[in-house]
């Protein structure tokens, strides 16, 4: 019993990270129908920004307490990623908004490489080497024979808080209403006096901020960060967003936790060798039954 509880805890904390990244994919897709392949690298940049922020505050009063240190890292990572995300949209995607979708997608892949190798270049000679995140929390709780680490708790609390804030912004604010309107019908929204460019920038800002935060909690949890760390989690989070229903915020969360559960579940049964294969076969089956994803809406093309 305690083993399964342990595996469940493992699954939830892994799923929370996937969910955080998946939100960025799903929001951007929902509003401009673009799969932002650079998002996994925004997550990577966030992890590095958080890491350097922690190094900076070491030895100052802010660095003395693990909670303030975490807060500083999260803030720096989120602000930095926000700026990065908004810049990427402004420079690389905006002028392609009315081009064929493939052009924007290809550009996104280009931006992704630029961020990866740009990071390596900026870090100098040992640019591609992993960096070890400082350990902030060592405490852990024992629940019925399973261990829950403080880090895992921090991941869960941070992720859920961010998701609640996001849901609130999207559902209960003017900006959120504008975002929903633009994703529903861009031209009609423009006619209603909504500034489409600004709304899209805000969407990128929010998604990237979440990605940056995910980078910090990821680093905290898995210790090792490197310039290519965004590749696999990014891909899996993208799939999580698709399975949940691309464009749907609750869908991204559910999809993220689902992948976390599947991966951990397959390993827990002793098939760690086939972990990704089995997890993705299940996801394919889900998509065969519901092509639009779990929460996705089936949009009819108007002729």
């Amino acid at each position: 019993m305690d083993v399964w509880l342990q595996q469940l805890l493992n699954a939830i904390s892994l799923g929370a990270i996937y969910a955080l990244i998946a939100l960025g994919y799903t929001m951007v897709y929902g509003i401009i129908k673009l799969i932002n392949f650079a998002h996994g690298d925004v997550f990577m940049v966030g992890a590095f920004l958080g890491y350097y922020a922690m190094l900076l505050v070491d030895g100052t009063p802010l660095g003395a307490n693990p909670w303030t240190k975490l807060l500083v890292a999260l803030l720096v990572a989120m602000v930095g990623s926000t700026l990065l995300g908004v810049t990427i949209e402004r420079v690389a995607y905006r002028r392609l908004r009315n081009s064929p979708r493939l052009a924007a997608l290809t550009t996104a892949i280009g931006v992704s490489f630029l961020l990866e190798y740009g990071t390596i270049y900026l870090r100098g000679a040992q640019g591609a080497q992993p960096e070890a995140y400082p350990t902030l929390f060592t405490a852990h709780l024992d629940l019925f024979g399973a261990t829950l680490k403080m880090d895992a708790l921090v991941i869960l609390v941070t992720s859920f808080l961010l998701m609640i804030v996001l849901q609130f912004i999207v559902q209960n604010t003017q900006t959120g209403r504008a975002m929903r309107a633009v994703s529903f019908d861009m031209d009609a929204a423009r006619l209603m006096g909504i500034s489409v460019d600004r709304t899209i920038s805000v969407t990128f800002a929010l998604g990237s901020a979440l990605g940056g935060a995910a980078g910090v909690v990821y680093g905290l949890y898995y210790t090792s960060i490197d310039p290519f760390m965004g590749l696999l989690p990014g891909l899996k989070a993208f799939i999580a967003a698709v399975v949940g229903g691309i464009g749907s915020i609750p869908g991204a969360m559910v999809g993220g936790f689902l992948i976390g559960l599947l991966e951990t579940g397959v390993s827990a049964l002793g098939f760690s060798l086939f972990r990704d294969a089995v997890a993705f076969i299940v996801l394919i089956l889900i998509l065969l039954v519901r092509p639009e994803g779990i929460f996705g809406e089936h949009v009819r093309e108007k002729v």
Binding site: P130, K149, T223, S224
Partner: protein
């Protein structure tokens, strides 16, 4: 990523065929040593250390008047810790740079990726630290690869030393094995350990696997914890091993000893795992920096003065691999590959830093291994095991 790289291979082959006849610097008054090493990527500290060691050896040889009166030149290539990249670096070194020998690579997978190229082109390869037996002996035909040599012991021996240490010194009866299945090195080590451990009366209670670049090992570790082993054998490399040790110790509270092979030997291991989690972590290795042997102490002192770091096993063997080649060239009186190959095969009782070596019939040196334990995050000598 992988796909993209493969797509370039045919292009690369064409480029090499076209450029193969033109390129290449003049030689004759110099001995050219090619390095095919992991200077970036998953196991970059291995390549960096081996490069430092090789550079030190070349400087020493040149200071003593070179080889056969010629200056020794290093041509450095970075295989990015990728097998496909290792093949292209080997081709470039042979066809464009016209090297006399290739020193590298530091891991078994990347070395295996170039053995056929080197044999076809009759260029000797000396790997400092590729420990998988298949590197020098073709597993299908059971014949020794003519131009491939190494400066280190092989995995069956390393796995045996780990198993013996677990049973005799750590008094373990039940072992769990957690292997990186994308690595030739780790699989070789796993098989050797399992065989030796069960032969000595131990029992393997859990077997789990992971892949290169994985980050989350908690579900496999939970299963391992459930099997209640007395020791965990962890054949793999430092980048993942560091995360595994951290997750085992601090996430799941697994406190039993963890033993690894020379793939642990990187300063990054302690950084990634966190020094507080490194209690009862052991590794089998090629040499111990705190071994009182004067040859080793002299090397450590020189290396520290030059690079401001304690040399790891990769640095020592990078140095030794160059010295092994230099000795063979001196005895052959030429850099002609067939003569050098014969001289390498006849190497007997050659005193190197990592031990006195004799090359056996399968091109493997016969030499001792050491077991080290991490004490306060530093490797500490525990035991020397002769073959």
């Amino acid at each position: 990523m992988k796909l993209v790289r493969w797509a370039f291979l045919p292009l690369l082959a064409v480029a090499l065929v076209l450029g193969g006849c033109g390129g290449g610097a003049g030689k004759g008054n110099e001995v050219r040593i090619g390095l095919n090493l992991e200077l970036s990527g998953q196991t970059a500290t291995f390549g960096q250390s081996a490069k430092n060691g090789a550079r030190m050896a070349v400087e020493k040889i040149n200071a003593d008047g070179g080889l056969l009166g010629k200056k020794v030149v290093l041509v450095e290539g970075d295989n990015k810790s990728e097998k496909s990249e290792s093949s292209s670096i080997a081709l470039k070194l042979i066809q464009q740079d016209k090297v006399d020998v290739i020193i590298g690579a530091t891991t078994s997978g990347t070395t295996l990726a170039m053995v056929n190229i080197a044999d076809e082109n009759k260029v000797p390869v000396i790997s400092p630290t590729a420990t998988n037996p298949d590197v020098t002996v073709d597993p299908k035909t059971k014949s020794t690869r003519p131009y491939i040599f190494r400066a280190c012991f092989i995995d069956p021996f390393q796995g045996e030393v780990a198993a013996k240490y677990a049973i005799q010194d750590l008094h373990a009866k039940k072992a769990a094995v957690f292997t990186e299945v994308s690595s030739d090195y780790a699989i070789g080590l796993r098989d050797a350990f399992k065989q030796a451990f069960t032969k000595l009366g131990g029992e393997i209670v859990a077997e789990e696997s992971y892949q290169k670049n994985d980050k989350d090992f908690r579900s496999q570790l939970t299963r391992i914890r459930d099997a209640k082993p007395d020791v965990i054998f962890l054949p793999g490399y430092y980048q993942e091993a560091g995360i595994i040790i951290k997750q085992a110790r601090s996430d799941l509270g697994i406190q039993v000893p963890i033993i690894g092979g020379d793939g642990f030997d990187s300063p990054k291991l302690v950084e990634i795992a966190g020094a507080s989690n490194m209690a009862k972590v052991f590794l089998t290795n090629h040499y111990a920096a705190d071994d009182p042997d004067p040859r080793i102490q002299e090397f450590v002192k020189e290396y520290q003065a030059k690079y401001n770091a304690i040399p790891d096993g990769f640095a020592v063997l990078g140095y030794d691999a160059v010295m092994l080649y230099a000795d063979a060239v001196k005895r052959a009186g030429s850099t002609d590959p067939t003569k050098v190959k014969a001289a390498l095969e006849a190497t007997k009782d050659l005193p190197l830093v990592s031990g006195t070596i004799t090359i056996g019939p399968d091109h493997n040196p016969i030499k001792a291994a050491v077991v080290l334990e991490y004490v306060d995050g530093k490797q500490t000598f525990r035991k020397k095991v002769e073959p």
